[in-house]
């Protein structure tokens, strides 16, 4: 291995990146993947698993939308419909969007941004991937068993009634196990950032993506165990009639809601914080300007993580909790919007007078600003007591959370995927078609979800398999949008597939980014770095200059991988 890297070093003198021993060619055979402790390989396995989940959840979504083409429901029975929206939500949330950015992209990038060889606990990392897979298989088991029609929120008493069958038990177990996977990932990331930063890199010299992952880790470690104990209690309740959640035995179903949202509200920040981390990287690199307000962005991640723990009650304004509780939760909900806004303003200020390059990741990020703007602002409507009482459980809520989860997190995920794609695969993709796909995704998204704000305002309840004829035009518009959105996604999948097969070789640093993952060949070597790169700041673009499209950017102080 040592010899191999030596040869690689020698090679780099004359030949470009394609011949060096990299993490993909370092070992062969399927065993070298599923038993790999290399964070890069584990990241790739996560990426595949997560994309499969996205596909599965997406198919459910398309069936839902097609079914809603007509008021009386076009495709499936009401019972099947209930199963579809439950599994769509559960798969997308627990298997795609929560692990998505941290476990797939974060796994790959985090150690490299630190200039480290691996995460602090490689074995734990692999274990957390295995747990993810076991959890995912259990969710698939739900499909085969009796199904589950409770909604992803699993509210008792309905979900824990004796007649519900095996599906709920499997889903509870799956959630428990996937939760542990998430805890272990967060723990690993925090310990790595904390203890493996090179001496020359202080906390405020880290790329903002690392701040974001660190803040995410706080939430994963602190909130997820509460979900774990909640679903464990639900499981025991269902089997042994504990009387904790089921009114039949003297239990309190609202307590379940409190527990559930104590996790699930912070969980929305597990989704959005890493997305915001990607945005911070991309917006700076493609504006050719150091990020504006570094400390504000970094600290607002921590602020979001902390204050995010205090607002869960805004999901329960109509659950019968006391008036004063409602008022306090509403106030705190307004408060938590502040750090999000701080970030948005800093990103916009970064772009101001920047030399903006509209590469695919940047196109996604520009879309993110619009989509997150709408999603975040409508969150304020829902956080206001008077309006939420009317809007709760309508399509307005559905539109709100899709704007933040799909509109913002999915676009940021795609931005990150395209941004790091050359590093991960060593291949460039077709810029033009990737941009077309990005625009299709975002236009499709708007067509799908803007009408849902309107139907929600007019009183269309969520989770209904049929609806009144007056909502028909809005629903049909949504369905058309969903088809556009899906075609954008498939186009993008094709673009990336073609890139894998015959993309041009990627240079070490195609975008001119200054964080350390770009100071190693594409794809990286097995141990990431042959020698520790100099640490000159994650947003210091003065040390870089562009050679050509093919050779990318190199450092002008003579140091290059």
């Amino acid at each position: 291995m040592v010899a191999a890297t030596r040869t690689a070093e020698l090679h780099q003198g004359h030949e470009e990146t394609s011949t060096h021993d990299n993490y993909l060619t370092h070992a062969h055979g399927w065993r070298s993947w599923i038993f790999s402790l290399d964070h890069k390989r584990i990241g790739i396995m996560y990426l595949c698993a997560i994309l499969i989940s996205l596909l599965l959840g997406g198919v459910f979504a398309l069936v839902i939308r097609l079914h809603l083409w007509t008021p009386e429901g076009a495709l499936v029975s009401n019972h099947t419909y209930n199963n579809l929206f439950t599994l769509h939500g559960a798969v997308m949330i627990f298997l795609f969007i929560i692990p998505g950015i941290p476990a797939a992209l974060g796994n790959f990038v985090l150690p490299m941004q630190l200039g480290a060889k691996d995460l602090a606990f490689p074995r734990l990392n692999l274990l957390s991937f295995y747990l993810y897979c076991i959890g995912a298989v259990l969710f698939l088991g739900v499909l085969l068993a009796s199904g589950i029609d409770t909604g992803w929120t699993l509210y008792p008493p309905y979900s824990l009634e004796g007649s519900r069958g095996l599906g709920v038990l499997l889903a509870l177990t799956g959630t428990f196990i996937v939760g542990f996977s998430s805890i272990l990932t967060g723990l690993n990331f925090m310990a790595t950032v904390h203890s493996m930063r090179p001496k020359a890199m202080g906390w405020f010299d880290m790329p903002l993506f690392l701040w974001a992952l660190f803040a995410t880790g706080i939430i994963q470690v602190v909130a997820t165990p509460v979900l774990g104990i909640t679903v464990a209690l639900g499981f025991l309740e269902r089997l042994f009639h504990l009387g904790i959640f089921m009114p039949e035995y003297g239990g309190d179903p609202v307590l379940f809601q409190h527990f559930f949202w104590f996790y699930s509200h912070p969980a929305v920040y597990v989704m959005i914080l890493p997305a915001m981390g990607i945005v911070s990287e991309v917006v700076s690199v493609f504006s050719r300007k150091p990020i504006f307000g570094y400390r504000f962005i970094a600290m607002s991640s921590i602020a979001i993580a902390v204050v995010g723990f205090l607002v869960w009650g805004h999901h329960m304004f109509t659950s019968g909790q006391s008036k004063w509780t409602n008022i306090i939760f509403s106030f705190l909900t307004f408060f938590v919007a502040v750090p999000s806004a701080i970030k948005v303003f800093n990103w916009l200020a970064t772009m101001y007078k920047g030399d903006i390059r509209l590469k695919t990741p940047m196109v996604y990020v520009l879309g993110f600003f619009g989509l997150f703007g709408v999603g975040g602002l409508t969150g304020i409507f829902l956080g206001s007591l008077a309006t939420d009482v009317a809007l709760h459980d309508t399509y307005f809520v559905v539109a709100h959370f899709h704007f933040v989860m799909v509109g913002s997190v999915l676009t940021a995920f795609l931005a990150g995927l395209h941004y790091w794609w050359p590093k991960i695969t060593g291949k460039m993709y077709d810029e033009r078609w990737a941009r077309v796909a990005a625009i299709l995704v975002m236009v499709g998204f708007f067509i799908t979800f803007l009408p849902q704000f309107l139907s929600g305002l007019q009183g269309m309840p969520r989770r209904y398999a049929t609806y009144l004829p007056e909502f028909k035009p809005l629903h049909q518009l949504s369905t058309i949008g969903a088809i556009v959105l899906a075609s954008g996604m498939f186009l993008d999948a094709w673009v990336l597939w073609v890139s894998l097969r015959r993309g041009k070789a990627a240079p070490a640093n195609p975008w001119g980014a200054a964080s350390l993952e770009w100071a190693t060949p594409s794809p990286p070597t097995h141990h990431n770095f042959d020698e520790t790169p100099p640490i000159t700041g994650p947003y210091n673009y003065d040390v870089l200059e562009e050679v050509s499209e093919e050779a990318g950017w190199v450092r002008n102080d003579g140091w290059n991988p």
Partner: protein, 244 residues
């Protein structure tokens, strides 16, 4: 990684992605503390459930407490505190390279943990035998439900009632107290069991002579875990057994 020749001596346990043993120890320490934080939150959900039910149904706790034998709880508290002492001692012994003391204290911790579970076993067995189990299955709850219990079970349930509660009205859904009791102590017991497995593993490694002044991380980490398990019990004991 396997292609690397292992350096000999104290660095033989150094993983490739760390530069020094110190860095490796620091990383595992921070990881362990984070894990313990998440453990606290895990139990935190149960403590919250305890608090909510206690606030809403004080009578249930007042009644239920008489079913638990505080002497058993006290013995177990003493057992666990001594085991924490011996766990801490084992870390010191590893740091000093005193293998004999290390092995002795690891054994002692393991045995005390086992003793804890034996006491717990007797407590559980007694309750289950009398029908004082969880939630809707609790015999006192079912006394009034026609046809749910046999004559014999009713007699058994009543004859085992603690004398202190004979004159008290039976609170509604009494079984919830026992649900909380069984879930909390059960989860804690599971942690004790895991701790025992970890001590067996440490004993094997200590037997191989793995630990010494330069490498004692695992002993240290497991002891940290053990202290948390101990600490959780120190909250459980008064909350369940003492304050009625």
């Amino acid at each position: 990684m396997s292609s690397h020749a292992k350096p000999s001596g104290d660095r033989r346990f150094l993983q490739v992605h760390f530069e020094t043993m110190g860095a490796q120890l620091a990383a595992s320490k921070s990881g362990m503390w984070l894990f313990l934080a998440s453990e606290l939150l895990f139990f935190g959900g149960l403590f919250t459930a305890y608090a909510v039910y206690r606030a809403n149904h004080p009578d249930m706790y007042h009644y239920g407490q008489y079913f638990l034998d505080w002497r058993m709880g006290a013995i177990n508290t003493a057992v666990l505190i001594s085991s924490s002492l011996s766990a801490a001692w084992s870390v010191r012994a590893a740091q000093l390279g005193d293998t004999k003391t290390l092995k002795a204290t690891l054994w002692l911790t393991l045995l005390l943990a086992g003793a804890f579970l034996v006491v717990k076993y007797f407590e559980y067995a007694h309750k289950i035998e009398a029908g004082y189990i969880w939630g809707g299955e609790h015999c006192v709850d079912n006394l009034k439900v026609a046809g749910k219990l046999t004559e014999h079970q009713i007699e058994h349930c009543l004859s085992a009632l603690p004398p202190e509660v004979a004159h008290l009205p039976i609170p509604e859904h009494m079984g919830r107290f026992f649900s909380i009791y069984f879930v909390m102590t059960g989860l804690h017991g599971l942690h004790v069991l895991i701790g025992m497995a970890l001590y067996v593993w440490l004993l094997r490694r200590a037997g191989r002579g793995d630990f010494g002044p330069k490498y004692f991380g695992p002993v240290d980490m497991v002891a940290l875990y053990w202290h948390i398990v101990d600490m959780i019990w120190i909250f459980l004991f008064p909350l369940l057994y003492l304050i009625g």
